[in-house]
Amino acid sequence: APPVKTLRYILPAAEASFDPALGRDLYTGHITEAIFETLYTYDYLARPVKLASETAAALPEVSADGKTYLIRLKPGVHFTPDPAFGGKPRELTVADYVYSWKRLFDPRLASPNSWLLEGKVVGLDALAEQAKQTGRFDYDAPVPGLEQIDRYTLRIHLTHSDFSLGMILAYEPMAAVAREVVEKYGDSKGEVAGHPVGTGVYKLGQWIRGSRIVLEENTGHRAESWNFEPSAEDRADDERIIRQMQGKKIPQIGRIEISIQVEDQSRWLSFTSGEADLFWLDGPLAPKGLADGKLRPELAARGIQLSRIVDPVLTYYYWNMRDPVVGGFGKEKIALRRAIAMAHDVDEEIRLVLNGEARRLEFPIPPGVEGHDPDYQGLLRYDPALANQLLDRYGYKKGADGWRTLPDGKPLLIHYTSRNEAAGVLMAELWRKTYTRLGIRMENQRMIFSDIQQAELLCKLQTRTYQWMADYPDGDNFMQLFYGRNINQNNNGCYQDPQFDQWYEASHAMPPGPQRDALYRKMARLLEVQAAAMPAYSRYRSMLAQPAVLGYKKHPILHQEWKYIDIERKD
């Protein structure tokens, strides 16, 4: 047999639970995505991204009102052999999906992903409610909204129109796990953290926790071959990839060796000394690999390849609308927030804090996501002089010490919260410059993540830089960040405006299209004039690949593309 091709990869943080239902970080997502399969996935090359089938036979058949989805499964998909199945492969059926989705609502498991289906499927919430009362989830109770027509066919009945369910079904937590496995290996919560058994292209091989994860090819995986169309956006590059890969068996790489390296320096030195084949070039290291967004010549000369995309992530600043100092809809409060927004130099932030690794974004939906408007012009432009005048006008007078006070003469002090790590410090330093520019005193509160999350949920933070990464590439996933009913959930700015909520609810029921986009623009503008939040930028994702890597192109939504690529070492 030919030698097994091996790809070496680096993750910057330790993995967590390998149970997809409990997936909450994208590093672990890399692994679970390789081991488990969802019904749908995304086309490797298509841009903007396009849904494709994974274990489903075809894309879902959606009714005109967007309330019924008919899903057909590919026959002959098998879970990898495991003692839980008597050591044999076990065929995947729609019951496995139904079971996996029900799991999200099991109170014992306390999955952080239940929101994906919450309030959507007819009868599922009632079952969840009942489980909450009894403390036990009845997996055998039928859910009217999840109609299993046969082993391979499922019809989903939704409570209200939703045209993005297909994308949700492509999201990692919706992957199929086998009930036998959960029952055999589940811990007291019913979590299978360390024994992943899926239908995916890879299965877990050797594993040293927190240090090294090896994935091996699932040789029993259904036969697939590489066959993709070039995208319109970068056709030339895609054609090169197609030349390299077309017709090959999936996967080409039989073994993925992942090492976990926390420190930037270690990671970079590892990659450049050839100990890794694919490398996620994140912020602090960007200048080492890139100059002006392009691969540095010395790296290019070594044949290193760069794949750079804009991540579907929105970074924005919010001010807590319920805060007595910065919050509220009064004109003087709006003026304060707008002045702050106008005094903040986003370009400097991109340049210095992110090392140029982000693209300025004025619209709250990032590029690559359904609903993004590339032509939208922001209102909150950098203009500190104007900002100062605005403050003067609204009575934020400067005291003897040079610092401004509130219009009622009380001291004005802003608490900017950031995380307890290097990036948080940088961010705070930049914001301090902004506030100093306005003559406003700022203090930086640095907290650990859980404390921030807690304060945020309770609407106790004053202001902060927040990032939202698309769970699925639809604008709804971003606009819900400002929806009034999501306060105490993830509307961290605690923004609630009846007009906005009304528009949001209307947009929620629309299929993607110009009509919904128009509504989104209004919503974006409303956010701006009230200065409840200010969109700032989307990060670039720059991936470096060693010369031996073939067919590599970073996908905006998929965590990794291992099964689509090949590697040909010269030696």
Partner: protein
Amino acid sequence: MTAVVHAGSPGLWLLAWRRLRADRVAMVSLAVVSAFLLMLVLSASGLIVADWEAEVGVSYAPPGFVGATPASSETAVPAAPAQALPENPFDPLADDIRALRAQLAPAAAGAVEMYGVADPLADDMAQLRGATATAGAGSLATAAGSGAATHAGAARRPTLPFGGDKWGHDVIKKTIKGGETSIVVGLVAALLAVSLGTLFGALSGYWGGVVDDCFNWFYSIFTAIPSVLMILAVAAVLQQKGVLTIVLILGLTGWTGPYRLIRAEYIKHKSREYVLAADAIGVSHWSKMFTHIFPNVSHVALVQMSILVVGFIKAEVILSFLGFGVPVGVVSWGSMLNEAQNELILGRWWQLSAAAIAMALLVTAFSLFTDALRDALDPKVK
């Protein structure tokens, strides 16, 4: 140090001082330490490096003796145009803004499509923009940038004497300012730790019995828990981040060393004949503890203090690494080293070197001085 020598009891301290004087290494170290302290006083009183936050150079300006790097937009901030623009001298994108503004000015907000959303501040903005367009330049330039941090008008320099950091701060000034924080943290935290340790050690060693058991209990708990965890735990309790917090973290976790030594000294001394003699003439317990015994063990406290100062200056680096460093707007050697962590692989060695060298210099001098001090104060050597 000299103040202490003369203030206390001239006899023995003077003797120690003479012995120190004879030690050349000690005197050189003392000179270095004094120089640092002088720098600390000057920078704390704002006589020097008050403007360390001024962004005088381009981002990561290399040291003057190395020479400027060929400009590439990721390091070099485009210097403000020579004829400072009246509209907005801070703006790196001044040209675009000017173009945009020229386009916007006539109809104020009208140029931006509002999609039917009403702007509550539309009138204000229009008026202010109008005023801006007509008013002279100067008034606006001064209206902005009140906090004095930004060093705007002047062009940023491509090189700085010992390089610049991310923001373009002068690394030398930053190092001096950082030294101020680090040394103050070291000194105050050591003072706190030694005071606590001495007080507890004195009570424990002198009284013995239940008091001793009690303090020993605390001591064994504090030493049984690894210091890193202890630091993280104390840091978690003291939610507020600030220099005071660092001092408290270090002080509250660092008292065990002095405690152990001082307690041992008190146990030794309390049965010494001079203490018995004091007892025989009717001296009170308090006076025995602090006027009789303490001066005799104070050298231990002093040496501990200087050892801890060194230790704490180093510990601050690790605290910074763990995210419990100084707050924003304050700089310390720890925060500099931590910031510079990733700069070395980017080929920007100057901030790392500046902080590391300054720290090494002070710490070396302090340690050598401590060694000499310990010898000078050691009763055995008399």
